[in-house]
Point group: C2
Chain length 209, copies 2
């Protein structure tokens, strides 16, 4: 049995965050596919494990963790990698993880789900989410101006959180050409030893047609 | 000059989170009103202080903090109150702060702004946000079943985060009657010594008509 078990699925950028962290740390981990598209996260059995009804879930020994930000922080401590080196950095990392969850991943994930999987077309809700997501990208792009990484001068779990959905650019349906700093930063992440696209790192791609 | 300065405004549930924390801790703090309704958070001057363009901002000595979750964690350490006592509690507190930012406050704040201040009427976007917010309330209500507080058996910063917008129930436009556990929990918070409603704790209420 692997040391870490991650409840995840290929289409989930939130699952990708700890999956990529585990991979970059060389962890002994195994995916446990969540049947999200079939409604597993809405079942009572799933909600008994995570009342929030979300993927991912990370199991490590007796611990069961949910919320990708909590997992990233836990894994950074466990492996001594990609975490904060000072209290200032710790606050800055959490600041960006919170911004990501609320504004960047929060809006992007629903937008991409509606456009790429529900295929709702350009409804008012899609337009609303598109505008909100672009606002978040502008903030991140401006922050990355003159920086290689989101916090400090090295990869941290803040980068791993913020990039969660951004390798699905073609599915999000927003033109990223204007976000030059984001694109250069994503290229730096792609160049990391051990990097994999979410569709190559987690089970469930492609979806059954 | 007060020890803590909080950039905030009365209508902001996100500002209320650290404001209530400061008040409950008996801190020497002063509010600095953010002219949100006049667009101050979108100005270059404001974004030079917080690139995310959000309220609140907390100043303490040389430190300038943004993101309410970061402030709550910082203040819990500073005052030794309402924080975690074990690593398990620390993870559980962050888990609920993340859920709050993403799912509960995230959707509630925009929903309430559209209904109460923009007065958009029941647009598709309002209906979308209403459904999302109700999902989040259901999760919290279920979690609070048989519990007095969100984490452990005492008030923590997880409670202070999650309650941020929930004293504006009449402005959110959702019937809270079914969320019995949330209502009982909010009554417990109201009963805390030093508790004040956001409109009595921060400047800017009522809005000019």
């Amino acid at each position: 049995m692997a040391e870490f078990e991650l409840y995840c699925f290929a289409q989930s950028g939130n699952s990708y965050k700890p999956a990529l962290m585990l991979e970059l740390c060389g962890a002994d981990w195994t995916p446990r596919k969540v049947e999200f598209m079939d409604g597993e996260t809405r079942t009572d059995a799933y909600r008994d494990v995570n009342v929030m009804g979300e993927a991912p879930i990370l199991k490590h020994g007796d611990l069961t963790l949910s919320q990708s930000g909590v997992m990233l922080d836990y894994l950074a401590d466990h492996f001594g990698r990609f975490g904060a080196e000072t209290p200032d950095e710790k606050r800055e990392i959490w600041r960006w993880i919170l911004f990501d969850n609320h504004k960047l991943t929060g809006y992007t994930s629903v937008l991409r789900f509606m456009r790429a999987f529900m295929k709702t077309g350009e409804t008012p809700v899609v337009e609303f989410l598109d505008g909100r997501a672009q606002n978040a990208y502008r903030v991140l792009d401006k922050h990355l101006n003159g920086r290689n990484w989101v916090v400090g001068d090295r990869l941290t779990i803040a980068d791993l959180s913020l990039c969660g959905y951004l390798f699905f650019q073609d599915e999000i349906g927003i033109d990223f050409a204007e976000f030059e700093n984001i694109n250069a930063w994503l290229d730096r992440i792609r160049a990391l030893e051990g990097w994999k696209h979410p569709y190559d790192l987690m089970p469930g791609h492609p979806l059954p047609s």
